[in-house]
Symmetry: C2
Subunit: 151 residues, 2 copies
């Protein structure tokens, strides 16, 4: 068979719809990080610091290696921002009692306050979005995002 047209994987129309979805992800992610980023900037901190604070808040006592795994950054890339948070007394790293090699990361009370403030803007943002979109939309959103996150 010659001159056979191969079916495109996606129609032109579908491609346009999905390109819109790509842009929604881009613009919404930027809107989503804008609030915390503004707060961080005033303290000379950035997105990495928020991520550290967030995941340490979420899982107090987590080790440096575990944090590296979640964030997917190199030890050297984590080193400086983490040291800054330690020296600013926002994070503490006490020796584990069960394994003396491991440092357990925890937020100090000041760290907890900052993390709550940073993450708080995002919580309110999402709460507003879901309140307006409806709880069915929220469920559907979570379903789609879980699929996207785990592929």
């Amino acid at each position: 068979m010659i001159d056979q047209k191969s079916e495109p994987l996606l129609t032109e129309e579908r491609t346009a719809e999905l390109r819109e979805a790509i842009e929604l992800l881009f613009f919404s992610y930027r809107a989503f990080t804008r609030g915390p980023d503004q707060i961080l900037e005033k303290r000379g901190l950035n997105r990495v610091h928020h991520r550290i604070l967030y995941f340490v808040a979420r899982q107090p006592g987590l080790s440096v290696n575990e944090l590296l795994g979640v964030l997917e950054v190199s030890k050297q890339a984590l080193h400086i921002p983490l040291r800054q948070l330690l020296s600013m007394n926002l994070v503490k790293n006490d020796k584990s009692k069960t394994d003396g090699r491991v440092r357990e990361l925890r937020l100090t009370s000041a760290g907890k306050r900052l993390e709550a403030r940073l993450t708080g803007t995002q919580l309110l943002q999402l709460d507003n979005v879901f309140a307006e979109a409806g709880s069915d939309a929220e469920k559907a959103w979570r379903k789609a995002m879980k699929l996207l996150a785990t592929d």
Copy 2:
């Protein structure tokens, strides 16, 4: 009145749900950029280059200033990656015929091929997600993301 408990804006349970949503955004965005990032890395390019290619593909002939506005980066921060794309013959910047100051950015044919390859992984990713989640979920997802993007 003393000792009055102020109502928290969000219940503990709701906060936990919304924290999960925060993580969904974080992990899904990372999964979403992983494909293109791997392709870009082989050529010594990064996320910024993809964004330039994407928005130039989306709106051929757009000016440097318009691109700056969309990407929300400084002229100096755009300068180097854009120049790289120009010198790699992936992007061209011809003088506008109606306004000689303005350079109209367009992809070359090689630029179109690379952009299609980069964005293609994301289109397929989203197509798969929506195929599995269902079209109602897709609609709801778009609704929520639009709200998040425009707040």
